[in-house]
Amino acid sequence: MLEARELAATRGDTTLFSALGFSLAPGALLRVTGANGSGKTSLLRALCGLLLPSAGEVRWNGENIRALREEYWKHVAYVGHADALKGDLTAMENLAIACALAGLEVSPSRASAAIESLGLAGRDHLPARALSQGQRRRTALARLAVSEALPLWILDEPFAALDAQAVDRVQKLVGGHLARGGMVVLTTHQEARIPAPTVTDMNLDRK
């Protein structure tokens, strides 16, 4: 279970959000919306432990993630705002290093099936710099197809730059993860249709 208590973040002199709290139980989806610059990415980075919040804390099963560190991170799949792909590596090699860093052991056949399932069949041996923006996004998201063992998924704008077919595929992956009892936090500008028992919406726009 993921909990945020009294979370606040600032950029320069501006307060992005403050006194923000929620808890996420297994099977629940948290959808974060807000205008550009409202602090969605900062919130997600704070939930990952990449950003030190200016106040408050994030807890995983009752313990502060700052104290848990690797014990927390080995439960998290994070797909950030940037694709984190190396242009000189192929889609397969990029997927392999992403999985390895998350502590997942993925066989080459599963990895190549994951890449194919995102519609990148035949392009898995091209260097990532030769791929289009949408294809790069698909490559970054392919790791979700092999991340079912990680209970918490944190996804920053997963649907950006994707076509309808890929959006559908990613929504199915997220839906499947929630049905398994996983937890998902995502930011989006689109009206996403994800079937989940509990969906919490959080809007970061200042009133």
């Binding site: 690797e70 994070y78 984190a84 242009g87 998350a102």
Partner: protein, 222 residues
């Protein structure tokens, strides 16, 4: 955890292989800087023999400096650093693996080439091994200490120059002991104390630098 570290080293070596020209730049820089000195100071054999250790060591230092700016910069720019910061393996272990890969790519070639360069300074053949061994012990220290500077200056404007100003003074002890090993060996005193001191520096840097690099990376990434 070993599987993660193996994957990180494999990734860095693969990236270096795909960008061979970057690696070649560092090595060629080393060769050219070291070759300019005989042309500049003239072909007086005794003078060349006397300056050889210092010149080759300073050239190695600068070549190492040149490759350091690439160490974390591109990963920081394209977001590939984030998965390392929240990996299932401790960040200290991951940066150790990355420093090792950096040394294999940009330190080891200097060690291998140094005896060849020493020949153009007419260095005594018995000293070629001493030179290579001193660089073998010294260059990993340069990579370890330099990586702290690279992590601290990450994302800063003009980071490359700042990195040099920050790191070069820290290289001074390694330079003095490393180049001194050859003088000691040439004068018949034996280079063993120098090698032991270099080894001690390597142990010390190996123990504390990964921790400092990890802390600096976390601060820079926020």
């Amino acid at each position: 955890m070993t599987a993660i570290l193996r994957a990180v080293i494999h990734r860095d070596l693969l990236l270096a292989w795909r960008r061979r020209s970057d690696v070649a730049t560092t090595v060629l820089f080393f060769v050219i800087v070291a070759s300019l000195f005989p042309l500049g100071v003239g072909a007086e054999p005794n003078l060349l023999r006397a300056i050889a250790p210092g010149v080759i060591w300073v050239a190695a230092l600068l070549a190492c400096m040149l490759s350091l700016t690439r160490m974390f910069e591109s990963d920081y720019a394209d977001g590939a650093l984030d998965p390392m910061l929240i990996s299932a393996a401790p960040l200290g272990a991951i940066v150790t693996a990355r420093v090792f890969a950096h040394w294999v790519v940009s330190g080891l070639p200097l060690v291998v080439l140094s005896p060849v360069l020493a020949i153009q300074f007419d260095l005594d053949p018995s000293l070629l091994g001493v030179l290579a061994l001193s660089l073998l012990l010294g260059t990993p220290v340069l990579s370890l200490v330099g990586a702290i500077g690279a992590a601290l200056t990450l994302g800063l404007r003009g980071g490359g120059v700042l990195l040099a100003l920050l790191v070069l003074p820290l290289y001074v002890p390694v330079l003095i002991i490393g180049a001194g090993a050859l003088d000691a060996a040439a004068s018949g005193l034996g280079a063993l104390p120098h090698f032991l001191l270099l080894a001690a520096m390597l142990v010390l840097a190996g123990a504390f630098a990964p921790w400092a690099i990890a802390a600096s990376l976390r601060i820079s990434a926020e």
